[in-house]
C-alpha cells in the first residue's frame, strides 16, 4: 500500500517536471527551426510558413497561454467565474509602461539593471525580470482587493462583480486622467517600452544584446521560459494542500468548509495566484509583443477570449488549457484571416473579410456547442471525466425518493402503460 502510494507520489513529482520540460523542448525545436532552418528553405515553402505559422503568432500565443493558465487557476481549479480577467492584463501592461519607458514625458531618470544601451535614456528603466515580479505582485494585490468584497457572494454575482471590475479598469485606462494625474495616457497609451535585454547571454555568438522587433525567434525562447514557469507553478500548487482545497471548494463549497477548508483564505489565494499570472502575461505582452500599452486593447472580449481558451481546452487541465490557448490565439491572429485568403484563392470569391468579420459567430457557436456536447473541454481533466461518468440524479431521486422504490414504481408505470 505504502509502496503504491510512494510510487504514485513519485509519478506526480515527475509529471510536474515532464510537462514544462516537454513544452520547453517543443519550443526549442521550434526555435531551431525558425532561427536556423526556415531562412534557408525554398522561397515558396518559407512564404507558406510565414503566412500560416509566423513566429510572431507563437510569441503572442505564449502570452495567451500565460493568461489562460492564470484564469485556469481561478475558474478551473477554484471554480470561481471571473469575467474581468483583462483587468490584470491591463495592470501588468501599465506596470511595464510605468517602469520600462518614459511615460507622460516626465523628466525623472531611474535605471535598475536595464540593458546598457539605455543608460543615457531619460525615463524609468527597470530590468524586465524585476518588472515581471513587481507587476505580478501588484496584480495579486489587486486580485485580493477585488476578491475580498465578493467572498460572500454566490457564483453568478461573483461573475458580475469581476466583470464590473474589468470594465472599470478599462474605463480608467481609457480616460487616463484620475484625480488630475495622467496614469495611462488614454487611447494613445505609453509607447516604446523597453525590449527585453539578454544580459550575459548577449555575449554568445549570434545572440542579440536586446530583443528588438526583429528578434522574434529569441523572444519565443524567453516567453516559453515564462510559460514553463507558470505551468510548473500551476501543477505544483494543484497537487499541494492549497490546490486540493481549491478543488474541494469547486466541487462543493459547503462541504469543503465543513471539512475545515478556510473559504476566505483559499478563495483569495486563488484570485491572487490567477492575477499574478495575469501580471506576468501583461508585462510579457507589452515588452515583447507590442512594445506599447494602450487602452484600446483592454476590452471585455479579451476576458471572454481567455475564458474561451480555458473552456475549450478543458477547465482545470493545464495541458488542455495550453493547447486551447495556442489554437484560439492562432485562429484569432492568423488562422481565420489566412483561411479567408486561401478560400478566396480557391473559389475566386471575395469573401476574405467576411471570415474576420464573423469571428464572433465562430466563438459563440464554439462556446455553445462545447457546453452542450463536450462540457469537459477538448482534453477534460481526469476528475471532471469521472464526475461526468456518474449518472445524474433522476427526477424521483431529486424529490427525495428512495432509488429502489423509484425504480419499482417506474417499472409498474411502464407495465401499466402497456
Amino acid at each position: 500500500m505504502a509502496a503504491v502510494q510512494r510510487a504514485s507520489v513519485r509519478q506526480q513529482g515527475v509529471s510536474r517536471f515532464v510537462w514544462p520540460i516537454s513544452m520547453l523542448a517543443i519550443v526549442i525545436v521550434m526555435f531551431v527551426f525558425y532561427n536556423n532552418i526556415e531562412p534557408n528553405l525554398q522561397t515558396n515553402i518559407a512564404n507558406g510558413i510565414n503566412d500560416w505559422l509566423p513566429v510572431a503568432t507563437f510569441n503572442e500565443s505564449m502570452v495567451w497561454i500565460i493568461m489562460a493558465l492564470g484564469l485556469n487557476v481561478v475558474v478551473g481549479y477554484a471554480g470561481l467565474l471571473d469575467l474581468g480577467y483583462v483587468a490584470f492584463w491591463a495592470i501588468g501592461g501599465y506596470a511595464a509602461g510605468w517602469l520600462m519607458a518614459q511615460p507622460w514625458a516626465n523628466s525623472w531618470t531611474f535605471h535598475l539593471g536595464s540593458p546598457t544601451y539605455l543608460s543615457q535614456a531619460p525615463g524609468i528603466h527597470v530590468t524586465f525580470w524585476l518588472v515581471l515580479i513587481v507587476a505580478g505582485v501588484v496584480c495579486a494585490i489587486a486580485g485580493i482587493i477585488i476578491g475580498a468584497p465578493t467572498l460572500r457572494l454566490r457564483g453568478d454575482y461573483l461573475a458580475l462583480v469581476t466583470l464590473g471590475f474589468g470594465e472599470m479598469i478599462g474605463q480608467i485606462a481609457q480616460n487616463g486622467k484620475v484625480a488630475g494625474i495622467n496614469l495611462t495616457n488614454g487611447d494613445t497609451g505609453i509607447a516604446s517600452i523597453d525590449p527585453i535585454g539578454t544580459g550575459w547571454f548577449g555575449n554568445l555568438q549570434g545572440v542579440p544584446k536586446v530583443l528588438t522587433a526583429f528578434d522574434d525567434t529569441y523572444k519565443l525562447l524567453v516567453l516559453a521560459v515564462l510559460v514553463a514557469v507558470c505551468m510548473f507553478i500551476s501543477l505544483r500548487i494543484r497537487d499541494g494542500r492549497l490546490g486540493r482545497a481549491w478543488l474541494a471548494i469547486r466541487e462543493d463549497e459547503l462541504a469543503a468548509s465543513m471539512m475545515g477548508v478556510p473559504l476566505v483564505r483559499t478563495k483569495l489565494s486563488a484570485y491572487a495566484v490567477g492575477a499574478f499570472f495575469g501580471g506576468l502575461g501583461g508585462v510579457g505582452f507589452a515588452s515583447a509583443v507590442t512594445g506599447n500599452v494602450a487602452s484600446s486593447r483592454f476590452l471585455f472580449s479579451v476576458s471572454i477570449t481567455v475564458l474561451l481558451m480555458v473552456v475549450l481546452g478543458g477547465m482545470g487541465n493545464v495541458w488542455g488549457v495550453t493547447i486551447g490557448a495556442v489554437i484560439l490565439s492562432w485562429v484569432n491572429s492568423t488562422g481565420l484571416s489566412q483561411f479567408g485568403v486561401q478560400f478566396d484563392q480557391w473559389t475566386g470569391l471575395h469573401v476574405a473579410d467576411k471570415f474576420q468579420q464573423n469571428q464572433f459567430l465562430l466563438f459563440g457557436v464554439v462556446l455553445v456547442l462545447m457546453m452542450l456536447f463536450r462540457p469537459g473541454g477538448l482534453i477534460p481533466e481526469k476528475r471532471t471525466k469521472k464526475l461526468m461518468r456518474e449518472a445524474p440524479r433522476t427526477e424521483a431521486e431529486s424529490l427525495g425518493a428512495d432509488i429502489t422504490e423509484a425504480e419499482v414504481e417506474d417499472e409498474i408505470a411502464l407495465e401499466e402503460s402497456r
Binding site: Q171, F360, L361, F363, G364
Partner: protein, 349 residues
C-alpha cells in the same frame, strides 16, 4: 464542557456584531456622501440638476424594462441570461428597420406613433421568439448541468447575437433618420413629451406584467416553479412550458425596450447590448434579483444616478458613468448582497 466552550463563543459573537456595526457605519457613510453630493448639485445648479434627473428617469424606465427580463429569468431558473442585453440590441435593430425601411417613417407624429407601436410589437415578437428558441436549444438541456455551463452558454449566445447585429447593422454605430425631438415644452434641454412617450410605453407594460404575474394562473404557475420546480411538477404544472413562457415575456420586454431606445436615441450599434445589459443587470441586482418591483426601482435609480452623474453640476461626466455604476454595485454587494428589496436567503444543501 460548557465552561470551556462559552468564552470562545461569546468572543465569536462579539466579533460578528462588531463586523456588522462597522459595515453599517460604512454603509451609512456612503449614503451620507451620496446625499451631500445630491444636495451640493441642487444648490449649484437646480435647473441643470432637475433636468438631469428627468433625463435619468427617461433612461431609467428603459433600464427597468431590460432589468425585468433579467430578473424574471433569474427568478425562475437562477440563470444570469448574459445574452439578454444583446437581445435588446437585436430589438433596436428590428424596430429601426421596420420603422425606417418598411414603413418609411421618419418623425414621431401621429402616423409615426402608430408606426412605432407596430415596429415595437414586431420587435417584441421577434425577441420573444429568439429568447424562447435559445431556451429550447440550449438552456433546457443544461438545466441539471453545473451552474457554470448555462452561464458560459449564455455568453456564447451573446456573441452570436452580436454577430447577427454586425451583419444586419454594420460594425460602426448607425444613426437612423428619425427625429427624436417631439416638440412641445422643453426645459434645460429636457423634453417633456419624450418623458410622456417613455412613460406611455413603460407604465402599461409594467401594469400588464404585474397583472400576469399576480392575477393569472400562468403567473401563479411561474411563482410556483420559481419557488420549487419539483414541487410544481408534482402539482401538475407544466414546468418546461412555464419556463418558456417566462423567456417569452422577458424577450418581449427586451424588444419593447429596443423600440423605445430607437424612438428616443435614433441610433444603435452592435455592442450596445453589452453596455445596456450590464447596466440593466446591475439594476436588477440593486433592486434584489428575482424581485419584479425591485428591478423597476433599481432601473429607475440607476437611470437617475447616471443622469445626475452625466448632467449635473458636480457630476463626473459621461466618461465615468460606468465606473460610478459599478462602484455602486460593488459597494452594494458588500453591504447588502440581497439587494434593496430582496430577501436574505440561506443556501440550501
Amino acid at each position: 464542557m460548557v465552561a470551556v466552550a462559552s468564552p470562545s463563543l461569546t468572543r465569536i459573537r462579539r466579533k460578528v456584531r462588531l463586523g456588522e456595526t462597522a459595515g453599517r457605519v460604512v454603509g451609512v457613510l456612503i449614503l451620507l456622501a451620496l446625499a451631500v453630493w445630491i444636495v451640493a448639485n441642487v444648490i449649484k445648479g437646480p435647473g441643470q440638476f432637475f433636468a438631469a434627473l428627468l433625463t435619468g428617469l427617461d433612461n431609467g424606465a428603459l433600464y427597468a424594462l431590460i432589468a425585468l427580463g433579467y430578473t424574471m429569468v433569474y427568478g425562475i431558473i437562477e440563470l444570469i441570461n448574459f445574452a439578454h442585453g444583446d437581445l435588446f440590441m437585436l430589438g433596436t435593430v428590428v424596430s429601426a428597420n421596420v420603422f425606417v425601411k418598411w414603413l418609411g417613417l421618419g418623425d414621431l407624429g401621429a402616423a409615426g406613433l402608430a408606426g412605432l407601436l407596430l415596429s415595437m410589437v414586431i420587435a417584441m415578437i421577434v425577441c420573444a421568439l429568439i429568447n424562447v428558441g435559445t431556451e429550447l436549444v440550449a438552456y433546457r438541456r443544461l438545466r441539471n448541468a453545473p451552474k457554470l455551463a448555462p452561464l458560459i452558454t449564455a455568453v456564447g449566445f451573446s456573441f452570436i447575437f452580436q454577430d447577427i447585429g454586425i451583419n444586419l447593422n454594420g460594425s460602426a454605430p448607425r444613426n437612423w433618420p428619425i427625429t427624436t425631438n417631439l416638440g412641445g415644452p422643453s426645459w434645460n434641454g429636457f423634453q417633456f413629451y419624450q418623458l410622456l412617450l417613455v412613460a406611455g410605453v413603460t407604465l402599461p407594460l409594467l401594469a400588464l406584467m404585474s397583472w400576469i404575474v399576480t392575477k393569472t394562473s400562468r403567473g401563479k404557475a411561474m411563482r410556483a416553479v420559481a419557488s420549487d420546480q419539483d414541487g410544481a411538477r408534482l402539482m401538475g404544472i407544466n414546468v418546461n412550458q412555464t419556463i418558456s413562457f417566462v423567456f417569452a415575456l422577458g424577450g418581449a420586454l427586451a424588444g419593447s425596450a429596443g423600440a423605445l431606445w430607437i424612438a428616443t436615441h435614433a441610433s444603435n450599434s452592435y455592442n450596445l447590448g453589452l453596455r445596456l445589459g450590464l447596466i440593466a443587470f446591475t439594476a436588477a441586482v440593486l433592486g434584489g434579483i428575482g424581485n419584479l418591483v425591485g428591478a423597476v426601482l433599481g432601473g429607475l435609480l440607476i437611470g437617475v444616478i447616471e443622469g445626475v452623474n452625466n448632467g449635473a453640476a458636480y457630476g463626473l461626466g459621461q466618461q465615468w458613468s460606468q465606473t460610478v455604476i459599478f462602484i455602486i454595485l460593488i459597494t452594494l454587494m458588500v453591504f447588502r448582497p440581497e439587494g434593496l428589496l430582496g430577501r436574505r436567503t440561506t443556501e440550501k444543501v
